[in-house]
């Protein structure tokens, strides 16, 4: 890049229909869970199933108030455990979504679920509403790991659940956690191989993080569990990369692997820093460059929505330069990396104007590649993505 335009001349007139300003994705949050897993810090509601009906009413209200200017091509129902809802409730939920949001022909419609909450009825009613992708929270097949994580299901429940799903929805993904206390490399290899054998088209592998305040974090603080060391974690992560790679999966995002044409298009919007709608408790939406966070407490959320107010409790709108930085930071998580041309078009800033001279040493250290006008992380770079992104983007 000989001639880098300065940030001011980079500015392009914003096109309000650009995918990073006008949402083409929808996230719907369902907070209910049967039990609170020890590591989880999501917006979840446990033992409040009597609230489900009221919650669905509130959700309907929020959905109705959501302004839609263009059809969506991805819908993601996440949680919590959305499939904790009854078939009837799931039908109503899917129905209210489909009625309000026009969709495009190639729609990807996903839901999160757990092995123990799957039934044929639930799958059927969702499939009837056009749902075409399941994301199954398996986490592990090993009893001892599931116990450390305080999951409610056993490894044996996974295969029957997959059988049920597959009858109506052939495309499914599995979520795993690696790096749990006591997990060995053989355990992990075994987990991954079983996921492949079951025909998963997509696998997410999340390195366990000890979120402050969670029961698992407290156990680590008090020394009741011992976290895996850096070398062990790295070995597990490397194993996912290599094993899934040789099974035909593409490592397309730091924690995500997909068979060709089976990436999660909804999540890809996040890693492109594109716009999306978000409804439900704790949901986040990103519309017209403004990011809004909904209230995280279910009762508060219901109360506010019923009273006709906005459930938003936090919002931010970044300066174009900060937005460009953020975009770069999230896009670097993708194996496709950051195309200089597309980046300039999306953010109005050249990549060079943000990273300045900080890329060369990273390339030299084998953490980043810069080829064909596209910057991306190598595997080694993915392993240290946080430090790297912070350094390269914020300097």
């Amino acid at each position: 890049m000989a001639n880098t335009p300065s940030p001011s001349t980079d500015q392009l007139t914003p096109d309000r229909s650009a995918p990073w300003l006008e949402p083409r994705g929808l996230y719907v949050h369902v907070p209910f869970c049967a039990h609170h897993c020890g590591y989880c810090d999501f917006a979840v509601t446990v033992g409040q199933d009597h609230l489900i009906e009221t919650y669905l009413e509130a959700l309907a209200l929020e959905i109705d108030r959501t302004e839609v200017t263009t059809p969506v091509d991805t819908i993601f129902i996440g949680g919590g455990t959305p499939t904790l809802l009854s078939p009837d409730q799931l039908g109503r939920l899917a129905g209210m979504i489909r009625r309000h949001f026009p969709t495009r022909p190639n729609l990807e419609f996903s839901i999160e679920s757990t092995p123990e909450s799957i039934t044929a009825d639930k799958v059927a009613v969702l499939a009837d509403h056009g749902l075409n992708r399941f994301s199954l929270g398996v986490q592990s097949f090993q009893g001892h790991t599931l116990r450390v994580l305080e999951r409610q299901h056993s490894g044996d429940q996974v295969t029957p659940a997959v059988e049920i799903i597959r009858r109506r929805v052939p495309n499914f993904s599995m979520d795993f956690i690696f790096g749990a206390p006591g997990q060995t490399i053989t355990d992990w290899e075994h987990d991954l191989k079983r996921a492949i054998a079951l025909g998963s088209s997509h696998i997410s592998t999340y390195g366990l993080t000890y979120e402050k305040g969670t029961p698992l974090w407290k156990q680590r603080e008090s020394g009741d569990v011992i976290a895996l060391g850096e070398t062990d974690e790295l070995a597990l992560y490397t194993m996912s990369h290599e094993l899934l790679g040789s099974a035909g999966f593409e490592h397309y995002e730091i924690s995500n692997f997909a068979k060709p044409d089976h990436r999660c298009q909804h999540n890809e919007k996040y890693w492109a820093n594109e716009a999306y709608h978000g409804v439900g408790v704790g949901a986040v939406r990103y519309v017209g460059g403004r990011r809004e966070h909904n209230k995280r407490n279910t009762k508060d959320y219901i109360r506010v929505v019923f009273s006709g107010e906005s459930p938003t409790f936090q919002q931010e709108e970044l300066s174009p330069f900060e937005r460009a930085r953020e975009t770069l930071a999230v896009q670097l998580r993708r194996s496709d990396g950051v195309s200089r041309q597309a980046f300039l078009h999306q953010t109005g800033h050249s990549l060079k104007s943000i990273v300045q001279h900080r890329l060369a040493p990273m390339i030299e250290a084998g953490l980043v590649t810069d080829e064909n006008e596209c910057v991306s992380l190598t595997f080694a770079g993915k392993c240290v993505a946080d430090g790297l992104v912070s350094k390269v983007v914020w300097g």
């Binding site: 592998t205 390195g207 996040y270 939406r285 966070h293 930085r325 930071a329 993915k382 240290v384 912070s390």
Partner: protein, 599 residues
């Protein structure tokens, strides 16, 4: 306006902590210069750092009045610091006086700075008024200490007064003795103005406040004066005395001590030791001024934020007005950018200057390792003064590498003589002599490389003698030695700010220690960092800081982006305070770790 016959000017000199500032308090109280209500301990130690550390750093002048035999006298006294690093403050004070109170702690007895400062006063032809202080202490040894004073500085036992600055006993008797023994200031009040600038400070509104001692003639408000060194003329705006706050008056005449302001905004116009005279009717010859003391220790000062370079220059310039004993010249370092190489009188002086800059001027600074000034005789016969390891020329060009040697006096309990001897031997010392002040106390004299002295000798002496040993030294000469420059390479890049000049015999040990410390101080990076210590191209020690292998948060979905962004930005912000050396961020602590003592 008092006649010279009714003026006395004196300093209070002593070893550190022997009670100078406390005695000054008593003078202020017992002459009603201040009221009991305004009193606080060591009142003249006004600087924050002085109060915090409980030591005097700067000289403090004050004017008091005392009546003896029905006659009122104006007494100008200057409280001085006792620490060896501030000796220049003492010599400047002495030049404004005719007498000095030599204060000695009646328990601790004669110490190194007692002797050094006494000789300073004698060289300046000052009348010494010897005083034993702290006689209230049950452990006081007045007879023995008086004997030590006789032996060490040649005073007469019958002249030694006894006082307690704490209880106030014997204090007014000291003032009486000053009037009796110290000569009144000489000089002709009718002659053209001739005043010594013995100190100054900067005031945002008034410009430079010039501290003067009038030697001849007088100075009034509105008078046109000349600063002789720079030959600049100014009109006197304000005149006054320190009582102890700045109290204005109309005129200062021969023998008096006080201050003047003349809207001098250009700091460079004022030189300590310069002469103030009348612009219209100037005096013929300027006063001799001061011999600027030789800096003993040099080190680099760099703003953490390179943008603050000019602020640092300004802060240094202002500080120098108040302390002309340190020097600074700009220098550039690969790792640290633009900064200054500063010369100091000792390690405490260096530390104090650094703290004053950081506190009073709100600057964040990196201090590089201290070093002494070496000398190199090149093959081509040129002699280079090496103030910084960066100035060391290529090995092939060196004919002779020389280091400064000091003559050092240790004053200590006789039973510690053996300890000191082995300490000095380890540091390449050459024994000169031993003198006994009494069977229990001795002065041992050595010649030692200055570099070994500044490194950690003072701390070592304090610890082996349990605090009862003191030392005092002066530069003697340069001598050839087998010296080398030890370099530190971080990630293959020489960090010039971490280079040190050391004796070859200790190079390997120092090198290993240095990078071991550095290893602990540098955070892990995204890649392996090699740390090496080298002499020329020969690597004598190495360490590796392994790179981060795994540092990634698993999830980053829509809801996480805000939080993640803030974390990333914050992490980067934290690193900005560090210095960038090639690809590596090095903290201030890492630089400091190089300076710490060897074990």
């Amino acid at each position: 306006m008092p006649a010279p016959s009714h003026i006395r000017n004196f300093s209070i000199i002593a070893h550190i902590d022997h009670g100078k500032s406390t005695l000054a308090d008593q003078f202020l109280l017992q002459t009603n210069t201040i009221t009991k209500r305004d009193y606080r301990a060591q009142l003249l130690d006004g600087m924050d750092l002085e109060r915090e550390r409980g030591i005097t750093i700067q000289m403090h002048p004050v004017t008091i009045y005392h009546t003896k035999d029905g006659e009122k006298y104006e007494l100008n006294l200057i409280d001085t610091p006792g620490h060896v690093d501030f000796g220049y403050e003492v010599s400047r004070s002495l030049a404004a006086c005719e007498g000095a109170i030599l204060l000695v702690d009646a328990f601790q007895g004669v110490q190194a700075q007692t002797v050094a400062n006494a000789y300073l006063a004698i060289e300046n032809d000052l009348t010494i008024v010897p005083v034993l202080n702290k006689i209230d202490m049950p452990t006081a040894r007045p007879e023995a200490v008086t004997a030590e004073m006789e032996t060490a500085v040649g005073v007469n036992a019958e002249d030694v007064l006894r006082a307690s600055a704490k209880s106030g006993v014997g204090v007014l008797e000291i003032l009486d003795a000053i009037i009796d023994r110290v000569p009144c200031p000489p000089g002709d009040p009718k002659a053209p103005l001739k005043a010594l600038i013995y100190n100054s400070h900067f005031d945002t509104f008034k410009g430079v406040v010039i501290y003067i001692r009038v030697m001849e003639g007088s100075v009034k408000i509105g008078q046109k004066i000349k600063l002789m060194r720079g030959n600049t003329d100014h009109v006197v705006m304000e005149i006054g005395q320190f009582r102890p706050t700045m109290v204005p008056c109309q005129e200062l005449t021969t023998g008096q001590v006080g201050f003047l302001t003349a809207q001098v905004k250009n700091i460079q116009d004022v030189h300590i030791g310069d002469t103030v005279t009348d612009a219209v009717n100037p005096t013929e010859t300027a006063l001799p001024g001061y011999k600027v003391p030789q800096a003993m220790v040099y080190s680099g000062l760099y703003p953490v934020d390179n943008e603050e370079f000019e602020d640092l220059r300004e802060a240094l310039t202002k500080l120098r007005l108040n302390d002309s004993s340190f020097s600074f010249v700009p220098e550039v370092s690969d790792g640290l950018g633009f900064g200054f190489r500063c010369g100091f009188l000792g390690m405490l002086h260096r530390e104090i200057i650094g703290q004053r800059l950081e506190r009073d001027c709100e600057l964040d600074l990196v201090h590089t390792a201290p070093n002494v000034t070496f000398q190199i005789l090149t093959r081509s016969g040129e002699t280079i003064m090496v103030h910084s390891p960066q100035d060391v020329v290529d090995g092939g060009q060196i004919e002779e590498f020389r280091e400064p040697i000091v003559r050092i006096n240790f004053l200590l309990p006789s039973k510690n003589i053996g300890d000191i001897m082995s300490m000095a031997a380890e540091r390449r010392g050459e024994y000169i002599k031993t003198e006994y002040l009494s069977p229990e106390r001795a002065i041992i004299t050595y010649e030692l490389p200055l570099a070994e002295v500044i490194y950690d000798l003072y701390d070592k002496l304090k610890s082996v003698t349990h605090g009862y040993g003191t030392m005092e030294y002066e530069l003697k000469e340069y001598r050839p030695a087998d010296l080398v420059r030890l370099d530190v390479l971080v990630h293959q890049k020489r960090v010039d700010a971490l280079s040190v000049i050391v004796h070859r015999s200790t190079a390997e040990r120092r090198g290993r220690k240095l990078i071991q410390k550095l290893r602990k101080e540098i955070d892990r990076h995204l890649f392996d960092i090699a740390l090496q210590a080298a002499i020329g191209s020969r690597i004598i020690a190495r360490e590796t800081i392994t790179g981060m292998k795994k540092d990634v948060t698993a999830k980053c979905y829509g809801g996480d982006i805000t939080r993640k962004r803030k974390l990333w930005a914050k992490q980067a912000e934290g690193k900005k305070r560090m210095k960038q050396v090639g690809q590596v961020e090095i903290s201030q602590e890492a630089f400091m770790s190089v300076l710490e003592s060897d074990d």
